[in-house]
């Protein structure tokens, strides 16, 4: 069914169809519309879920953990400080192998109070064992949320999945949304280690140095296995509903000499910049990274790479740039742009490419213009 929706509403629509048994959430700008809409669905009876209006994000994730371990489907949503506040529990969720799905509306971190788009919140969760996907359109927010449940709950994965949307730039903008008749796309959940009072077990017990690393390795093994599950799920989604996704969305990359790499809405905006650059005779392409965990194999060999980071790791560099250099060994031009909602137009992006200085870092609006 075709309609018009915001990114937040699209997520809520997908959650309604995935029908988690328990939703536990705490409001934070710009995520509020997601949880308000879910609460409305529950209140009106359109969703049969239990909505736990917890008193903090730490408790939101803890409640999802407690619910999930009984073997049922759970969902939550947060943003920025909310995500940071639940950090202890995001680690717990992954370590406990619980397929919780969470929408995170990417937002800057204080101080100062800034509610606008930035990716540092989610990127600080890189190492927790969560799978992370970053979307760029309202339609993709909906599709990725649906797929997240199927991927998380797959018995080769059993890890939580975070669906990331840019605050306001995607959470609050209206775009067309084509909802699907879900059918059996998400199979019933079966958690092999669900609590069973007839077969009592201890969960998360004291674990010695002879065992702990085995559990850690098991998370990594499942993240590696998730590559296949993500591919299968996206393939099945395309087969059933006609929309194709991958680990990256490549635009005019095949013959490109310079490729722009970014995530979220910047990655989509880069496509417009590519067209402008091509008109000027510059062989540009763009590669929008969708999945950051697991981190995809990137084919950037022989190409100049311009990475745009809407985030930063102080004392090291743009987080995306750092990851890409580590993976491809190719030198990049690292652009830090869009922090705290700083406006970045496709003309600006085209400018980054025209004036690139491979091997250097450039803070848009701060360091001398390229």
């Amino acid at each position: 069914m075709k309609k018009i929706a915001t990114g937040n509403k699209a997520v809520a629509e997908a959650v309604k169809q995935a029908a988690p048994t328990v939703v536990a959430a705490y409001p934070i700008t710009p995520q509020t519309e997601v949880v308000e809409q879910v609460a409305e669905f529950v209140s009106s009876g359109e969703m049969k879920s239990r909505y736990i209006a917890v008193e903090s994000e730490h408790s939101a994730m803890a409640a999802c953990i407690g619910a999930s371990i009984t073997g049922i489907r759970t969902f939550t949503a947060t943003s920025s400080h909310g995500l940071l506040y639940m950090h202890e529990m995001t680690n717990w969720a992954a370590g406990a192998r619980l397929p919780i799905v969470m929408a995170n509306i990417n937002r800057s971190l204080g101080p100062g109070w800034n509610i606008w788009a930035e990716h540092t919140d989610a990127l600080q969760e890189r190492d927790t064992g969560w799978l992370q996907v970053y979307v760029s359109t309202v339609q993709e927010a909906y599709d990725a949320t649906l797929m997240a449940f199927r991927i998380a709950e797959h018995n080769d994965v059993l890890l939580p999945v975070m669906v990331n949307l840019d605050g306001f730039l995607l959470s609050h903008i209206m775009q067309p949304l084509d909802t699907v008749d879900l059918g059996d796309f998400i199979p019933p959940i079966h958690l092999p280690h669900a609590i069973d009072v007839k077969n009592p077990a201890g969960y998360g017990c004291l674990t010695g140095p002879d065992q702990q690393f085995r559990f850690r390795w098991d998370i990594e093994r499942s993240i590696r296995d998730s590559v296949k599950v993500i591919e299968e799920t996206e393939k099945e989604f395309a087969k059933r509903f006609g929309r194709k996704y991958g680990f990256t969305e490549d635009y005019r990359c095949a013959d490109a000499e310079v490729v722009i790499v970014a995530i979220g809405t910047l990655g989509k905006e880069a496509e417009v910049a590519v067209d402008i650059l091509r008109n000027d005779g510059i062989k540009a392409g763009s590669m929008r990274l969708r999945w950051l965990r697991p981190f995809p194999e990137l084919d950037l060999k022989g190409k100049q790479v311009v990475v745009i980071d809407r985030d930063y790791s102080f004392g090291r560099g743009g987080i995306l740039a750092t990851e890409i250099v580590a993976q491809t060994r190719e030198p990049v031009f690292s652009v830090i742009a869009g922090i705290g909602g700083q406006e970045v137009t496709y003309e600006d992006i085209a400018g980054f490419v025209r004036n690139r200085r491979i091997g250097e870092e450039f803070w848009f609006g701060v360091t001398s213009n390229v």
Binding site: S56, G66, I69, V197, P200, C205
Partner: protein
């Protein structure tokens, strides 16, 4: 309410107290099933595991324990073994009540009546877990929150918690604590719980009955157990039950329950309210109170009297 003029005999002849003692005489039928198996990693004389033994006997096998970081995390044993014969979900320090909230909702959504019991220490309840607990209470979560209170962070080597009493030495209050014990029961009561009680490891039958009552009531309930701790309180290991009894007899701990807001003070504490034993009898055997300033003892005595008066007045209110 403390009336030292009356003899113990005259107190016992009081009809109200007599009835209570009769009720106490009806010893509940304690199931033989054990849910705490042999070879726990508890310290000698541990009253946390003694209490949990009776909690689980009262709760039965259709029960899940949610345990934040505390002595019980250790007592259950080391992976891949567990000494507890019910499912135990270990969770981060401040998250027990929230975790239980999700779990209870999930069980109820699935039509299951499984008891969800948080079993947390004083640090995990009075300090780091108080927000999650308050939230779960306010939301009417169908669960039982039990705080076993050894009045310090025992697991990490006896650092002060807000449950540590005034004057007690801990590793972070080497000269004795200068602040009073936090009144978590008053805080819990402010949530207007359907059921709330205090208990003490030295009175396991009383504890057993209170756990059964709490679990029979739908909605949130809270039981606060005083759990004497030999290494933490620095007394010899065979004296845990005696310490608990001295706490009640001196009035440092009061046994009571509130059912839908109606307070009933336990018979043991009724006796103590009429004629408490000297507080020094409770303080002296404990190394943690060694060298306590007499002025601090006086403050403790005043607090006991004030607490007794407050509870007696509440109980007398129709």
């Amino acid at each position: 309410m403390i009336n030292n003029d009356r003899s113990q005999d005259r107190v016992l002849r009081s009809p109200i107290i007599h009835n209570h003692l009769q009720e106490l005489d009806t010893i509940p039928e304690i199931p033989k099933e054990e849910y705490i198996l042999k070879c726990t990693s508890a310290c000698a004389g541990c009253s946390d595991s003694l209490s949990l033994r009776y909690v689980l006997k009262a709760a039965g096998p259709d029960t899940v324990l949610v345990v934040p970081a505390c002595c019980t995390s250790v007592i259950q044993g080391i992976y891949p073994n567990t000494a507890f014969n019910v499912p135990v979900y270990n969770i981060a320090f401040g998250a027990a009540a929230a975790c239980a909230s999700g779990m209870s909702n999930a069980f109820r959504a699935a039509g299951k009546k499984t008891n969800v019991i948080v079993y947390a220490g004083d640090g995990g309840t009075l300090d780091i877990g108080i927000q999650a607990m308050s939230g779960a209470f306010e939301r009417g979560t169908d669960f039982l929150y039990i705080c076993y209170d050894n009045e310090a962070y025992g697991n990490t080597g006896m650092q002060r918690s807000s449950g540590t009493p005034l004057g007690a030495r801990t590793t972070t209050t080497p000269a004795g604590k200068t602040d009073a014990k936090k009144d978590i029961d008053a805080i819990a009561a402010a949530h207007d719980l359907p059921y709330q009680a205090t208990a003490c490891a030295a009175y396991p039958q009383d504890l057993f009955k209170k756990v059964q009552k709490a679990l029979a009531i739908r909605g949130p309930s809270f039981i606060h157990i005083l759990a004497p701790c030999p290494p933490g309180w620095r007394y010899s290991t065979e004296k845990s039950v005696e310490m608990g009894k001295l706490a009640v007899k001196s009035g440092m701990w009061v046994l009571y329950e509130r059912e839908y807001g109606k307070l009933t003070i336990g018979p043991q504490s009724k006796v103590a309210m009429k004629k408490p034993i000297p507080l020094e009898d409770y303080l002296k055997p404990q190394g943690r109170f060694k060298g306590i300033d007499p002025k601090t003892v006086d403050i403790l005595k005043q607090r006991i009297a004030k607490n007794f008066a407050k509870l007696a007045a509440e109980e007398a209110t129709p």
